[in-house]
Symmetry: C2
Subunit: 668 residues, 2 copies
């Protein structure tokens, strides 16, 4: 049987697992009427946003489809691949979020029975996103591989670009939404009105919980779906350029690695349970470790059975180890007991100014270890594969074969965050809230560590995409000459791109958060009895403000990301475009690490102080740390992660339109 | 006569101009005893720091000299060039600062007579640094050219590295000192004790004024001396690699361009006067414009007389135009009435969190125009010179031929800043302080705009240095293949370097500022009658704390900058090292622009609010803006500018040790 049928079967299996998880969650109890009411409001807000975002995406998708259909030979097949990629990605995000917005209230309810039931509910809810992502990707890719003839394999990039486009929208839009609501809610709620987190009297609190779902759940799902898909596409394209690969096993190997990852992940999720010692984070790390070890064993067996050189297994293993190291290093720098976090907390005693100085210093510092790890993985996987870039491609495939587990653990974050919010707003008993708070705390940590995985993985798969680009434009042998000033020009533009792209997102959050602040202040002023808890705030209005402002800010950064490579490619040609990718990929990687880790560390520094250090909650040090946390929010949840999507959109569109640039560029 | 004698003569002329300016300043009146006492204290602190910094530098210099002497063929001559470069740089910084610490009090005194006398005093004081820098550089280079035989021309890089090393120390040490003192003084003084800027009762106020001199004056002098010197060295090395260039005029052309810049600058400084309309900034811009126009005319005549292709003149002109555009764009983004500044000020109404979010957003945004300008200058100068990298080298030479004027205007900043401080501390009459405040305000703007010039110029000369590196390692034809994973590894490490380097500096400032805060709090607590103005604070102790902490933080970032290229070159070879430069130069450029402009804009947003907007001084918006200003301080005056020096140290040492890497690298 052709290997792509295995891909479709494994994908279908993943979907079945997702469906089982969904059913297991949905049959659980939803709790009291009050809890259901709050969950309903969050659900409505989330769907409303996703529906309106779909319209914006549809416009872009149609325009690009028409462009591709008319400008590229095999345009129709490219468009088909593109649409399948886009639809599969949106479906993942939509279904995953649909379950997440139902798992939150059930997790809160399950917390009344104890820690492990609540933990399992959140894990199962998250697993729906995790397995849906790999399932749809494997089915989509398998189907396209079955349909395309051998010489049409390069058209697979359309699938990757479809996934990238949706990821860019979901990451950017969701990221702006979630932080505008979060920052807005905190700024007035906590600082001006002295309300606790998720207080029912805060008009922005539902919007804040909606944001967790549209940003951290749907956005992250689309992001990881994309990384998974483009990594496999890049591996296939690179394998395809090796003479005779499609006949042998080199071509199917990365797909098999991905398939084995599904089985490893099923085991990893199955064993995720909180034991007697209530060690939540330990349970999650065990789950990852089990997935990594089983994947490694299966990959070894695979390599052996296919009679491929064992060096290939070493390449895959280097990807698996890299995943684990990236987890560790994110925790090392941003974990709640880390030295970096304590440094920032100590600096808070000098005021908000020294807090943010130290926060940015820590963020800048965190780039070096991940950079060394990624470099080491590149070198090891290249050498192990017999000095071949194919090694880098299968290392990335190995790393992303863990996707189902990683994404499950990541989606655990917004579900438990929401569960905490619902418990607070429904005024559940103290012991229940203690459980949801503990889960929420761990969710914050896993959100930071999976971000480290996503950023490092994106860098590795972008390197693979760059190799695919070099193949597509035929510069594999010559390389690109950085002494050519057109290449220099491309490098500078590429290094600049992540800076301006993230500037749009930071500004959008600042702007939308201010609108939210104004709205909350208005409601507090005009709705009588609001602060006394006698009148309900107008949640829907706040939700609407976040929605409108997030969508309004989408178009400009999207267009910059999509148009820059097109303009550079058409005007300055493929050498300059290659330079652009060379300048963009590492710069974007460092900037994303800086932003994500600075934000994560400042967040935990605030929590460290809230734990009673330096005067605890309400002290001057705490107020200073709140400022740092506010700055950290859009850094870690909007700008930083969106860079992942940006580099892949730019890379995939460069490969996709390579024939156009080769034929029509003004300069050669 | 050989052209290098002209270089020595023009250098001597520049030194004479500097001496005349120094005499004109020193014969002016020093004012009252009180003023002299304060100036004396600042002077002592500045000398104390420079002396102790010299010891640290001497240790590094001796170690490196021994290393070079024993490891390189022609090691002794390299060491000679290295020591001449280092000594010339330190002399420039030392002499320039010596006059600056005497011009400050004379400027304050002259302000009693009126705006123009004060303005002229500050300009003449600044001109000493400006002309000393170009003078020592032209003499040093001319002497080495006279001494070296034709085949020893590559050894000139030793001179460039000497200048780079001093620049790195002066920029890093001075930058940490000045911002530790500034932030420390502000945090307690303004926020906790409600004292105005430069209040005599603030124990950190002398240290703050010392910082202006060791950071903004000595640090900037060494930085620009370095850019000027390495640009000329790079141009000479590139010209030297063109067959027959040493025989014709290609080799002497960049030196002639530099020489003509001295004459243009003399005219530019001569006409710098404030007329009846008291337009200080207008006077400075006129001075720059006159320098640019005269330089352009002279360069045209030069090209014509040497019978060189007019395309070369176009290359030089593109450098001159780039200088002007970089000035304009820095002002566009950070000027006190710019949209960006207003955006940040508006965001301050939401609190410190939204202020810093918007501040960073603005900083990130400011990268795009300078990047486009530099790219345009690279392309234009390359094409105009007949598709030759020589064009880029002479564009950089053209840009830096403006050095004397630019550095004069830059040094104007710390002198007027100090003059304001002395006027405040000596309690001079209101009308005098109005004049010193106006000059100080303009000084702040010129400090921001000259930083834009320095960063853009550093990028351009780093590109020229990269070409020189490619020549040195013999990869001009082949280029470097970015598909080689060693090169990829180098690129990632290079992109990471500016992030960790600046993280050390940010942390050092945060740390030292906290020490300063503790000391000021201690003095306020223990010295009775301090706050009532009855007892004098212990200024010397605060000066000492800034000195010790700045010097203590020097070693680590210096070693990272010096050792990284050595380790990469020795272990992974010249291809990887080339990758490192390719990754580092654009990333560093963007990061420096981001930091410098974010800081500048946040500074002016605070001033905008102090001008009465959004509630003015003391309002909540103002408090929020003070936090942004505190973060902006080390961004714009420590981390951002130090990146200029870092990229040139890394580039020059890569060229210098190229023979070593070619012979002994573990991997080839």
């Amino acid at each position: 049987m052709e290997f792509y049928y295995y891909s479709i079967i494994a994908g279908a299996l993943a979907i079945v697992v997702a469906a089982i998880c969904a059913m297991m969650v949905l049959k659980r109890d939803e709790g009291s009427e009050r809890m259901r009411g709050i969950a309903e409001a969050i659900r409505e807000g989330a769907y409303a946003y996703l529906r309106r975002q779909a319209i914006t995406i549809a416009v872009f998708t149609i325009i690009l489809s028409v462009l591709f259909a008319f400008s590229l030979s095999s345009g129709v097949k490219i468009v088909l691949a593109f649409l399948i990629g886009a639809i599969a990605s949106y479906l993942t995000a939509y279904l995953g979020m649909s379950v997440a917005v139902r798992s939150n209230v059930r997790t809160a309810r399950a917390a009344e029975k104890g820690l492990n039931p609540a933990f399992r509910t959140a894990i199962l809810g998250g697993a729906v996103t995790g397995f849906a992502a790999v399932g749809f990707s494997l089915i989509g890719l398998g189907a396209l591989l079955a349909y395309f003839t051998t010489d049409q394999i390069p058209l697979l990039i359309g699938f990757g670009f479809g996934a990238s486009l949706i990821s860019l929208f979901a990451r950017v839009g969701g990221g702006i939404y979630t932080k505008a609501a979060d920052v807005g809610a905190d700024l007035v709620g906590k600082t001006e009105l002295n309300l606790p987190e998720d207080d029912v009297r805060n008009p922005a609190t539902i919007a804040d919980n909606v944001g967790d779902n549209v940003g951290d759940c749907a956005g992250m799902a689309a992001d990881v779906f994309e990384s998974y898909s483009v990594t496999l596409v890049a591996a296939l394209l690179i394998a395809n350029s090796i003479p005779g690969a499609t006949a042998g096993h080199l071509f199917s190997y990365p797909i098999y690695v991905a398939i084995l990852g599904v089985f490893a992940s099923i085991a990893g999720i199955y064993i995720a349970k909180v034991g007697r010692r209530s060690n939540i984070i330990g349970a999650l790390y065990k789950s990852i470790l089990v997935t990594v070890v089983i994947a490694a064993v299966l990959d070894y067996a695979l390599t052996y059975m296919l009679k491929l050189p064992m060096g290939y297994f070493v390449s895959v293993l280097s990807g698996l180890v890299l995943a684990f190291l990236l987890f560790w290093v994110a925790d090392y720098y941003t974990g709640s007991e880390s030295n970096s976090v304590k440094k920032i907390a100590t600096a808070s005693t000098g005021g908000a100014g020294t807090n943010v100085i130290m926060g940015l210093a820590v963020g800048l510092r965190t780039t070096w270890m991940p950079a060394i790890f990624v470099v080491a993985a590149i070198l090891v996987s290249y050498i192990a594969a017999g000095n071949s870039v194919y090694g880098i491609a299968i290392a990335a495939a190995g790393m992303f074969s863990l996707t189902a587990t990683i994404l499950t653990i990541d989606s655990f974050g917004p579900i438990t965050d929401n569960a905490g919010g619902i418990a607070e707003m429904s005024q559940l008993p103290h012991n229940v809230r203690k459980i949801t708070d503990a889960l929420d705390g761990v969710g914050n940590t896993t959100k930071a560590t999976t971000k480290g995985f996503a950023i490092g993985g994106a860098a590795l798969s972008a390197v693979a995409l760059f190799v695919a680009f070099a193949n597509a434009v035929g510069i594999t042998k010559t390389g690109i000459n950085v002494l050519n000033p057109l290449v220099t020009a491309g490098i500078f533009i590429g290094a600049m791109l992540p800076f301006i792209f993230s500037s749009f997102l930071m500004e959008a959050v600042g702007h939308a958060a201010n609108k939210m602040v104004e709205e909350v202040r208005r409601q507090v002023r005009t709705i009588k009895g609001l602060m006394q808890g006698k009148a309900k705030p107008d949640y829907a209005r706040a939700v609407d403000i976040a929605t409108v402002n997030a969508l309004r800010s989408l178009a400009l950064p999207e267009m910059v990301a999509i148009l820059t490579p097109i303009v550079v490619g058409l005007v300055f040609g493929v050498q300059a475009l290659g330079g652009l990718l060379v300048g963009m990929i590492p710069t974007s990687f460092m900037l994303a690490l800086f932003m994500a880790n600075a934000g994560g560390a400042m967040d935990n520094a605030k929590k460290y102080i809230e734990g009673g250090k330096f005067g605890g909650k309400g002290s001057d040090a705490h107020k200073a740390a709140v400022v740092g946390d506010t700055l950290g929010d859009p850094l870690k949840d909007t700008a930083g992660p969106a860079l992942n999507s940006m580099i892949k959109v730019v890379s995939t569109i460069s490969i996709l339109l390579a024939p156009l640039f080769l034929a029509f560029a003004l300069v050669h």
